[in-house]
Symmetry: C2
Subunit: 381 residues, 2 copies
C-alpha cells in the first residue's frame, strides 16, 4: 500500500445530496475529471481514487467521513499537483473538508519537512532545551532607525528570535534592504555587547522574482532564519526556500484562514500543523487561544501542536523521518501569561509576544522579563 | 483620494460581537497590528485605515457593510503585501468577507491586468468577434501519444484553445516536456492540414523553480498561451509570468474555492473576476451554472463576467486602463447547451467543454459541432 495516498474528508451533505454520489463525485473530480463512462478501463484503475470508507459521523445529521485511496502516481510527486489532488476542484463545491492525509514514503521524501526543526533551531541559538521567545518589529510606517532601535532593545533583553512584523515588506518608510542591514547589525552589536545569541528574522515574503533576491540578501547579511507567509506566496515556496538556502524558516499564517474552514476547506490543524511542517517550515506561527483570534480555541491549538511535534514518517520502513517543528503561538498573547504558556506547552515551543511588550514602554526591561520566564529552570526539558 | 485604497467588507457579527469594535479591530489588524495606544501618533494616521462607513445590511441580522480607507503606502505597491493587507490576518478571524476594492492608480499601474485581454486573444487566434471554444486533454493517466492524438482531433475539429487538463503535470505516464512537444506538434500539423488556427495550452503549474523552466519550454516550443493554477502557485505568479513571457495566460480556479466564502473569505466574483484579471489573466476559467459545481449559480457567474468585462482603471485621470479578460465558463457544460451559452454570454467569452465532447466518441466530429456553434453568424459581435 506504500504507493497509496490515503485521504480523509468530512462531508456535510444537504438533505438533497446523496453521500455516495458525493463521494464518487469527489473521487472523479480530483483525478480523471471525466464521467466514469468516458474513462478507458485501464486508466480508470490507475488514476481514480477508490472509496475506502464512507460512514456517517455522530457529530450531526448529514455529516460523513469519507476515506479515499489516491494512487500516488497521479501527483507526479509535485507539491503543486499534490495540493490540486487533495483540494483543487472540490474547493469549488461545498461541504467538503480535508481532514487527514496519510503520506506515502515517496511524498515524505519529496516534501521532506524542516531542515532544522526543533533541535536545529536550538542549535542555531546555541541554547539548551527550553521554550524560546520571539517578538515582532512593528508597526509598519516607522522608519528603519526606529525599527532597528527596537531590534537592539529586544536583543539586549535577550529575546531569542526577533522577526519583522509580517506586514513589513519594502515600504518607502523602511525599504527591505535598508532594514535588513540595519536590524542585522543592531542584533549583532547587541549580541557582542551582552554575549547573547538573538537572531533577526527579516520578512522575505515577496512577489515571485523578488523572493529569491530577498532570501539571497538575508543569507548574505548573515541571517540564520527568515519569516515568510507561505499562504500568500504559495506553500511550495517553503520547499524551494529550504532547498536553496541554509536558513531556518518561520511560517506566518496570514491568509491561511481563507483556506481553513469548519464545514468546507482544510482542517486548520492539518494545514498549519502538518502541511506547513512537511513543506519545510521549522517554526509555524499560529493564533493562540486567549488572544485576538477567538476562532482558534485551545483544542485547535493543541491539535496544531500535536501535528507539529508528533512522529511523522519514521514508523514504516523506507519512510523518511520528518523533523518535528516548533509551534509559535502568537496573535495577542499577554506577556503576563508567558509562564502559563511555557508550562502548558512545554519546552519545544516558541512563544511569540509583540504588542504586550510594546505596551510596557521600556522594551529592554519588557524583553528581559519575558526572556527570564523561559529561562526558568523548571521549564527546561 | 488617489493614494487611498478603499476596501469594502461584509461583516457577520455574533450576538456578543459589537460591530464597531470588530471594524476597529480589522483596521488595526490589517495595518499596525498593535493596540492603538502603542502606536506613535504620527504613524497612526499614516498607516491605520480609517472607517469610512459602517452600516447594517438589509440582508440579515448581524450583517454589516464596512468600508475602510487604506493608505496605499502600506502596501509598498507589492502584490503579496496587498493580499496581506486585504485579507491576511483577518482571514484567521470569522465573519469577514472581502467584497470590493477600489484600486488606486498606482496599484492599477503596478498590477496592470492582462497582456492580451479579449482582443489580444482574438488576434492570437486570427479571428473576428465571436465566442471562442476551448477543451481539455484528459484524463490524466493516458500516455502522451493518446493525449496528442486527442489534441490533433480537437484541432482538426477547429477548437480554438486546446488546453491540458489542469491535473496533467509531470506524471510518469505523460511527462511535461514530452507532452508539450507532442501536443504542440499535433496542433501545428492539424492547423497546416486544415488552415486552422487552434492553439495548444500546456499546463505550466509547477512548484517554484520548475515554473520558469516550464514556461521557458512552452515559449520555445512556440506556444502562444498557457494554463496556470494561480491559487496554488500564488496569485503573484500571474504577474511574473505576464512580465517575463509573451504568452496569453489562462487561469484555472483550482483551490480558489478554499478562499472564496459566503460569510468568511473573499467574494468569488472579486477573487476570480477582478483580482485574477488585475493580476494578469487573459482568460479566467470558472465553474459555470448548470454544471458539476452548483455552488456557482447563474447570478454569481454573471457577476464574474461583469468583473472581467467592465471598464477598470480608465475612468479617472492618471489611471491605467486595464484590459478586459475572457470569462471561460466550464466545469461540466453540456455541448448541447453551447448555443444557449453563446447566446447568453455573447461574443466575449471562451466556452470550455470537456467531458461532453469525449462522451460523443468521435472527437473530430464533436469538436466540429461545438465549433460550428460559435461560428454561427448570429453570435458574431
Amino acid at each position: 500500500m506504500s504507493d497509496v495516498l490515503r485521504v480523509t474528508y468530512q462531508l456535510t451533505c444537504r438533505p438533497d445530496e446523496d453521500p455516495e454520489d458525493k463521494a464518487r463525485g469527489i473521487a472523479l473530480e480530483q483525478s480523471a475529471e471525466l464521467p466514469a463512462r468516458c474513462i478507458p478501463e485501464h486508466v480508470y484503475d490507475q488514476v481514480v481514487p477508490t472509496i475506502e470508507c464512507l460512514e456517517p459521523l455522530d457529530s450531526g445529521a448529514g455529516r460523513y467521513r469519507l476515506v479515499l485511496d489516491f494512487p500516488e502516481a497521479i501527483t507526479g510527486l509535485e507539491p503543486t499537483q499534490l495540493i490540486n489532488n487533495l483540494f483543487g476542484n472540490i474547493s469549488l463545491k461545498s461541504g467538503i473538508r480535508l481532514d487527514e492525509v496519510t503520506w506515502t514514503p515517496n511524498l515524505l521524501r519529496t516534501l521532506g519537512g524542516p531542515r532544522y526543526g526543533v533541535d536545529g533551531v536550538r542549535e542555531l541559538l546555541g541554547i539548551g532545551r527550553r521554550p524560546m521567545t520571539s517578538t515582532a518589529l512593528k508597526p509598519l510606517g516607522l522608519d528603519t532607525a526606529t525599527l532597528a532601535g527596537f531590534c537592539a532593545d529586544f536583543a539586549r533583553g535577550g529575546i531569542d528570535l526577533i522577526k519583522d512584523d509580517h506586514g513589513l515588506c519594502n515600504q518607502a518608510t523602511s525599504p527591505f534592504h535598508e532594514r535588513l542591514l540595519a536590524c542585522q547589525r543592531a542584533v549583532n552589536e547587541a549580541n557582542a555587547e551582552t554575549g547573547g545569541h538573538s537572531l533577526y528574522l527579516p520578512n522575505v515574503t515577496a512577489p515571485q522574482g523578488a523572493l529569491a533576491e530577498r532570501l539571497d540578501a538575508a543569507q548574505e547579511a548573515g541571517c540564520r532564519a527568515v519569516l515568510i507567509c507561505p499562504f500568500i506566496t504559495g506553500l511550495d515556496t517553503l520547499l524551494w526556500a529550504r532547498e536553496h538556502y541554509d536558513m531556518a524558516l518561520m511560517a506566518h499564517p496570514a491568509f491561511a484562514g481563507a483556506i481553513a474552514g469548519a464545514e468546507h476547506g482544510i482542517d486548520p490543524a492539518l494545514l498549519l500543523g502538518e502541511m506547513t511542517r512537511l513543506f519545510g517550515a521549522d517554526m509555524v506561527v499560529y493564533t493562540n487561544a486567549e488572544g485576538r483570534f477567538p476562532t482558534y480555541d485551545q483544542a485547535l491549538c493543541d491539535r496544531i501542536n500535536d501535528r507539529l511535534w508528533r512522529p511523522l514518517g519514521a514508523a514504516a520502513a523506507g519512510e523518511s523521518a520528518i523533523r518535528p517543528a516548533l509551534p509559535t503561538p502568537g496573535g495577542g498573547v499577554d506577556a503576563a501569561r508567558a509562564p502559563y504558556w511555557a508550562e502548558r506547552y512545554g519546552p519545544d515551543v516558541v512563544l511569540l509576544i509583540g504588542g504586550s511588550l510594546y505596551a510596557q514602554g521600556d522594551l529592554v526591561a519588557a524583553a528581559r522579563r519575558f526572556q527570564d520566564v523561559v529561562e526558568r529552570p523548571e521549564y527546561a526539558g
